[in-house]
Amino acid sequence: MDERSKGDVFVDGSHCGVNVGEMTIDTGMGAMIGNDAGMGKNDGGIAALKMCDEHGIPAAAVAAMSAKIGSGMSTYEQGKISAANETAKKMGVASGMTAKEAADKMLEALAAS
């Protein structure tokens, strides 16, 4: 994740913890989909979603039991959305949706904006 990904809908195998939120915002991602890492303590696994919302960046997470954490391709091909931020929800992203469909919705919304 670096500035080469600026504006991209970035689908990754990482958790969506607070440090990933910082990276997503700092690198200027267009949108992000990661792994919820089982949510975990203080919902730490999806902390980035709210942070991204504050910067108008759509973000969502797939359930840890649906995709292999650490593998971005698994997030994209196997992932089922378990959490989405408000910005993503407005684009039609919802829990239960496949990551592929969610990514398409994010891309369409960004292209239309």
Partner: protein, 141 residues
Amino acid sequence: MTHEVHKVVKETGGFRIVIANSATSATEENKNDIVIDGSHCGANIAPDYILPSGARGMIGNDAGIGLENAGIASLKTLGEHGIPAAAVAAMSAEIGIGQSTYDDGVISAVNEVAKEMGITAGMSAKEAADKMLAGVLKQRG
């Protein structure tokens, strides 16, 4: 990619226990370190970050274990390279925050090398880190 400054919490005989939020920030500067991080222990962590850095031990987050135990896949890989590794339960520590792994983490999974050093599930991450440090000192002889 990530250029975070690691916190050194212990130093003995040339080995250190260091805290990092992300395992992706491990570099050759961590050669001989026990790296305690806030990352998951997925398949990419060992070959892409921990092994190239030359770190001597690792404790990360189990990320809820997840599909096909992906959250702890690197433990076995590190064990195959003789490196002790363990994960803390996602419900015990906040993923993404290395200090939480160290301060709050409760071990949920260990590899064979860590097991031989006396590290077991249910142990605090701090105690496990101390055992790894003692273990690598002993390995050196």
